[in-house]
């Protein structure tokens, strides 16, 4: 169980994640950020809860294109992530990657990838390397529900089970693949059931309550770390915003959105802390203000003041220097 102190810390991390993403939204509307932008509000308890149960900066993490918060939880400096979204040389991928390709190898955040389902075999491959080298690390692959309809899902589950690879698959099931509802694209909507045919242990739980996520993730991480084989954990969640910025959300109702907002992961944890005593709404609001000031004065300022990459270095990093 998370201690009260831990809960206060992860609440802060979730608020930072939320405010960071909301500030990205604003910067995108101001055309400071270009390209595609996939935001995380609503799903914070997933990445933060799972990594709370794992070892950020030690375990190897890989994910799809909704990747900012995963990187920050692994240890990336929010300033470097924001600078990347601005396409600056000081960005964590030196402005060459962008929102969908955040990389921070020093913190073992092995990247965001934009091909849905692409990271599955890469994660299994990292697990293969861990297996060969004999370390205590595990590989963790965060992807959405719709990635499971790619061939790479099935090919990877088979190989991960066959070779007993230390890889943890986290399915953040937010009920939509871009703009198509899960039940309209997927024959079996309970994703955790789909790995049973490969003999992979799996589970499903609420992805909005970070205490629930943490408990399930702890079991999953222990399973993989003790080399009992791969594990698949499905977290039931919801993205409050659209798939990307170009999404008008015409495929779902405002009522459904409001219902899910009742289960905002930040409010769930905040209310619990207040109910348990020793925490107040005033403290929460002060923290929000402090975080907003940090994002504005440090994160955004850093991104805006950082230099662009030099055109002379256009072809650097295509091949090794």
């Amino acid at each position: 169980m998370l201690s009260t102190q831990d809960k206060k810390r992860v609440l802060r991390e979730m608020v930072l994640a939320r405010r960071f993403e909301e500030r990205c939204y604003q910067a995108y509307m101001e055309r400071k950020i270009g390209g595609f932008l996939h935001l995380y509000p609503g799903q914070e308890a997933c990445a933060i809860g799972v990594m709370e149960a794992a070892r950020p900066g030690f375990d190897y993490v890989i994910t799809g294109y909704r990747d900012h918060v995963h990187a920050i939880k692994c240890g990336s400096d929010p300033k470097a992530v924001m600078a990347e979204l601005y396409g600056k040389e000081t960005g964590c991928s030196k402005g060459r990657g962008g929102s969908m390709h955040i990389f921070d190898v020093a913190n073992r955040f092995m990247g965001g990838y934009a091909l849905v389902g692409g990271p599955f075999p890469l994660a299994a491959g990292m697990a293969k390397a861990i297996q060969m080298k004999g370390g205590d690390e595990i590989a963790i692959c965060f992807l959405g529900d719709s990635a499971n309809n790619q061939g790479t899902f099935h090919e990877t589950m088979n190989m991960a089970a066959l070779w007993n690879l230390p890889v943890l698959f986290i399915c953040e099931n937010n009920l939509y693949g871009i703009g198509t509802a899960l039940h309209r694209s997927t024959a079996v909507t309970d994703q955790y059931k789909r790995v049973c045919s490969y003999g992979i242990e799996s589970d499903q739980c609420d992805g909005q309550d970070i205490d629930v996520v943490f408990e399930h993730a702890k079991k999953a991480v222990e399973h993989v770390r003790s080399r009992k084989g791969p594990y698949f954990l499905e977290l039931m969640t919801y993205r409050f915003r659209g798939h990307s910025m170009s999404d008008s959300r015409g495929y779902r109702t405002r009522e459904e959105e409001e219902q899910w907002k009742e289960r905002d992961p930040i409010n769930i944890l905040r209310d619990r802390l207040i109910a348990e005593g020793g925490y107040t709404q005033a403290e929460f609001e002060a923290m929000e203000k402090e975080i907003d000031a940090y994002i504005e004065n440090e994160v955004i300022r850093f991104a805006e003041e950082s230099p662009e990459p030099r055109v002379e270095e256009l072809t650097r990093y295509v091949l090794a220097d």
Binding site: Y113, G125, M159
Partner: protein, 327 residues
């Protein structure tokens, strides 16, 4: 110098690299217990065991991606794709992951993988087992492409590819695995860039790679004996990056060029070499350069049709004679 077959040279390179570095592994369909479709990994399973010589499921994109992921953490996988036709299925991982990861991570991450695959037409294998696809690979930023025309290159290019920090695609040929040739007894690393003058000549330059080098050599022999034409043969063993300087130098010497490929013409090696000649050597040319290439058809099964779809040394001779106004 010992004489060995193309497959033996590849096997030797695997063996030496795996003996040197415990993080070198190989993976692919039937490469372990079965010893490899073309014997390129024969005996390695017995020597290095199943964790390093991995018989994979028939899941090309999946196991290729798995090898790439392992390479992120310092493993050096030699990934065999049994046929280049199956490599289509793995192109997503090769192109989207391996070739781009260094760039899109701003130089933080690299995928030092080796992809080996048998291309080319063999004997009546039909449309889905006869493709030549080097033209697709050579147009992808971040990927090196080499294609050995003899056992020495097959050995030395694989050795260099394993040591390269970049992903390397090695395009082999189904009909060449039993070809014999001299391979140095000592360790040898063939450069991953450049080209080689395989036969010296003064009247015309024949550019070939992989199997078409042999058509060029045979054609050069006929041209010398029967037509008194001295042809130089240049082996473009590196297709990406192409040896722009080497091409320039070769054309400047003879002022006439023929580009020979087993692949179909559109957007291919021939098109690219012709473009380089146009950009670099236009004023050196005595005649318009000529391409020799396959017909643009899915490779037919029927033997006669198959043969008609693929060029050979006679086509090279004809092209040269045409260039000289003798046909």
């Amino acid at each position: 110098m010992a004489e060995m077959m193309y497959w033996e040279a590849i096997r030797r390179a695997h063996d030496e690299e795996m003996a040197r570095d415990p993080l070198v592994i190989c993976m692919g369909e039937d490469i372990g217990v079965a010893g490899g479709t073309y014997k390129a990994t024969k005996g390695l399973y017995e020597k290095y065991g199943p964790l390093r010589v991995m018989d994979t499921p028939i899941s090309e994109n999946g196991y290729t991606g798995l090898g790439i992921g392992a390479s992120f953490l310092g493993v050096k996988p030699i990934i065999e794709l049994m046929s280049v036709n199956f490599a289509w299925l793995a192109m997503d991982q090769m192109f989207n992951s391996a070739a781009k990861v260094r760039y899109m991570s701003g130089g933080q991450l690299e995928a030092p993988c080796v992809f080996r695959s048998a291309g080319g037409t063999a004997h009546q294998l039909g449309a889905q087992h006869s493709a030549r696809m080097e033209k697709v690979f050579m147009g992808v930023a971040g990927l090196r492409v080499v294609t050995p025309s003899n056992p020495k290159q097959a050995y030395g290019l694989l050795k260099s590819a394993v040591r390269s920090p970049d992903p390397v695609f090695i395009n082999e040929h189904e009909l060449m695995y039993n070809m014999k040739g001299e391979v140095p007894d000592e360790e040898y690393f063939h450069p991953l860039e450049g080209s080689e003058v395989t036969r010296s000549g003064t009247d015309v330059t024949l550019f070939g790679y992989n199997i078409s080098v042999h058509w060029c050599l045979k054609a050069a022999e006929i041209l010398a004996k029967q037509y008194n034409i001295s042809a130089e043969v240049v082996d473009l063993y590196a297709l990406a990056p192409l040896d722009r300087e080497g091409i320039k130098k070769a054309v400047a010497k003879t002022h006439k060029a023929v580009v020979v490929e087993e692949d179909e013409a559109p957007c291919g090696v021939g098109s690219e070499v012709m473009a380089i000649i146009n950009e670099e050597c236009f004023w050196e040319l005595d005649a318009p350069p000529v391409r020799v290439h396959a017909a643009l058809v899915p490779t037919p099964f029927n033997h006669t049709l198959e043969k008609a779809s693929i060029p050979n040394h006679e086509d090279v001779v004809k092209a040269v004679l045409k260039l000289f106004g003798k046909a």
